[in-house]
């Protein structure tokens, strides 16, 4: 009896507080690389990649662990950007409050859209989130405070907690890195908590999870709101970095981009979205002068990923190393 059950027990090195050694090593490598990176690579480019990496991690929380594909996640990125930019520029909020305010706006929007969308599944869910995103896009286009086509420009970066002057690029970089790491670790914690286990149970077999007494809708809604919140955190930070909140961040093409990053990096992997975001942002950086070819390349990546590379970079790597990354 024990001999058969033993096969299902993880016999690799003992995990510390739910963190397995491969995760820990990968995390340390990632952090070390990101701390060293601004001394070799243009920091603004890195900050852009970090914001998108957090955005993709937030998106992955939903698709990878609940199995819900939101095709309107740009809404949370964009609305938080507007919130942070408006509060910093018009109301004179310091950066920490502006980021909090922007994130809270995304959370509130996530609660409303989530409550409506969570009742549906699969393709319907993708469709409905996309439609709501388009609605918010048109609202942003017309509302006065968003500045319409111009967006909110020259947003002040300010002084964080009255101590750190964010107009200094390197200081800003390490603040952005800290925000990214906090977000990343919180998402990691959520995935590996009992809450995350219930989410996976719902993904695998919802009726069974319900029959075990879990209120699936509540868990799904909470996951949606969490995902919206972290997407918002990424958007609010991005608005301060680029001193700009614009329509690009609410448009459906942005929702498509985050899907692309996550798919390329590896759906449902911990580090995949980060890798995917860095690849896509780098690619766009090099292809920027080629205009519409960026769209073509993105489309080709989608097609190739779906047809032959469904596990993504980190999924394939994990499969090769026989470790979950």
């Amino acid at each position: 009896m024990t001999a058969t059950t033993d096969r299902y027990v993880d016999t690799t090195l003992p995990a510390v507080a739910g963190v397995s050694p491969p995760h820990l090593i990968a995390f340390l490598v990632m952090t070390a690389a990101l701390v060293a990176a601004p001394f070799f690579v243009y920091p603004v480019f890195l900050m852009k990649a970090l914001c998108f990496a957090l955005f993709a991690c937030a998106f992955n929380l939903l698709i990878g662990y609940v199995g819900l594909l939101s095709f309107g996640h740009a809404v949370f990125l964009g609305s938080a950007g507007y919130g942070a930019a408006h509060s910093a520029k018009v109301w004179g909020f310091p950066p920490e409050l502006a980021i909090l305010f922007g994130t809270a706006a995304a959370t509130a929007l996530g609660a409303v859209i989530g409550a409506l969308a969570i009742r549906s599944k699969g393709i319907y869910f993708a469709n409905i989130t996309l439609a709501f995103a388009q609605m918010v896009y048109f609202f942003s286009l017309q509302a006065a405070f968003t500045g319409g086509e111009d967006g909110i420009q020259s947003v002040p970066r300010g002084t964080l907690l009255g101590m750190l002057n964010l107009t200094d690029t390197l200081t800003l970089y390490f603040v952005v890195l800290a925000i990214f790491l906090i977000g990343f670790l919180l998402i990691f914690r959520a995935i590996h908590s009992p809450f995350g286990q219930v989410l996976k149970a719902i993904r695998e077999n919802e009726p069974r999870a319900i029959s075990l007494g879990y209120r699936a809708e509540r868990y799904k809604l909470l996951a949606f709101v969490l995902s919206a919140t972290f997407a918002g955190l990424a958007g609010a930070t991005k608005a301060l970095v680029f001193q700009l909140a614009s329509l690009t961040d609410v448009h459906w093409t942005m929702s498509g981009e985050v899907v692309l990053m996550t798919l390329l990096g590896g759906l449902g992997t911990v580090f995949g979205p980060v890798v995917g975001a860095f690849i896509v942002v780098t690619l766009e950086n090099y292809l920027a002068q080629l205009g519409a070819w960026v769209t073509v390349v993105q489309g080709v990546i989608f097609v190739v990923c779906v047809l032959t590379f469904r596990r993504g970079v980190m999924g394939e790597l994990g499969n090769f190393l026989r470790k979950s990354l």
């Binding site: 009742r119 989608f302 097609v303 779906v306």
Partner: protein
């Protein structure tokens, strides 16, 4: 003469525009519904295929000298053939997987097609002349009705109803509906289901291309003409109920009209009204107005 403080001229004008948009919504959501019914995928390439229909009409005119009427016949067939190739080579490999992969694949194709056309033809539109037979219009007393617009409404309504008839009232349609319910059983009866799936996809794509040809003289031929339209059509499909044929037709025309009237009475909301209706429908009837609860 005014109704609720709005000149009747403006009211009927917007009603007409609403019906035209409704005709496109109906044709596009009908194609999406037919495809979804059998293939269980949301065809994100639909907007790009609508655009390809308009461009094919433009190419036929400028390269082969074939006019509007030939385009109306040939462009849908040509685009349908590209759809069939797409289904045979790529989509059919995804039927065993989660349906979301179909959505992602067709989204990728939409990006590729729209990107390629934009590289070649830019973002500004190309003009496409109205057929001479339908130029001009007639005065109905209360409004001026351009002939071409009347033709678009009548013709798309006829195509929609013919599609409905074929699917709901003929033997071929009964195979199709049966295969939607249980493809394995239908295959066991000796019907070639994979071929039927391929042809259904081709037909749905052809409908999108037909809408593109009809739209070419009204809107300009533009690489991005389908990009934003398709999202509105997704909302229309959610409101009508995914997979319902009559639902697509009725909600397509109905929402076009509602949108038209919104432009008269509260222009600020005209872009968002369909999405608001979608939210309300989702609250009251999650399966859509004409959909069956799953």
């Amino acid at each position: 003469m005014t109704i609720l403080g709005v000149p009747t001229q403006a009211l009927f004008g917007q009603l007409l525009i609403g019906l035209i948009n409704g005709a496109f919504y109906a044709l596009l959501s009908l194609g999406l519904s037919v495809i979804f019914g059998l293939l269980n995928i949301i065809n994100f390439t639909h907007g790009a295929q609508y655009m390809m229909g308009a461009f094919t009409a433009y190419f036929l005119l400028h390269w082969a000298g074939l006019g509007y009427w030939w385009s109306l016949l040939l462009a849908p067939i040509a685009v349908a053939i590209t759809g069939v190739v797409l289904e045979r080579t790529t989509l059919k490999r995804l039927y065993q997987l989660d349906h979301l992969y179909g959505l992602l694949l067709t989204f990728g194709f939409a990006l590729i097609i729209q990107g390629l056309f934009r590289n070649q033809y830019g973002s500004s539109g190309l003009p496409y002349a109205m057929p001479a037979e339908l130029a001009g219009g007639r005065n109905l007393g209360f409004m001026f009705l351009p002939n071409y617009r009347a033709w678009v409404i009548v013709f798309s309504l006829a195509v929609c109803l013919a599609t409905w008839y074929v699917i709901e009232r003929t033997r071929l349609g009964s195979y199709l509906r049966a295969a939607t319910e249980n493809p394995a059983l239908v295959q066991a009866f000796g019907i070639n289901v994979p071929r039927m799936i391929t042809l259904t996809y081709g037909f749905g794509v052809g409908l999108a291309a037909l809408a593109g040809v009809l739209a070419a003289p009204i809107y300009q031929v533009n690489p991005l003409m389908g990009a934003d339209l398709i999202i509105v059509v997704f909302a229309v499909v959610v409101i009508g109920g995914l997979g319902s044929i009559m639902g697509s037709i009725v909600t397509g025309f109905g929402l076009g009209v509602v949108e038209g009237f919104t432009k008269v009475f509260y222009p600020e909301a005209s872009n968002t009204v369909i999405f608001v209706i979608m939210a309300v429908v989702l609250l009251l009837r999650p399966a859509g107005l004409f959909g069956r609860a799953s």
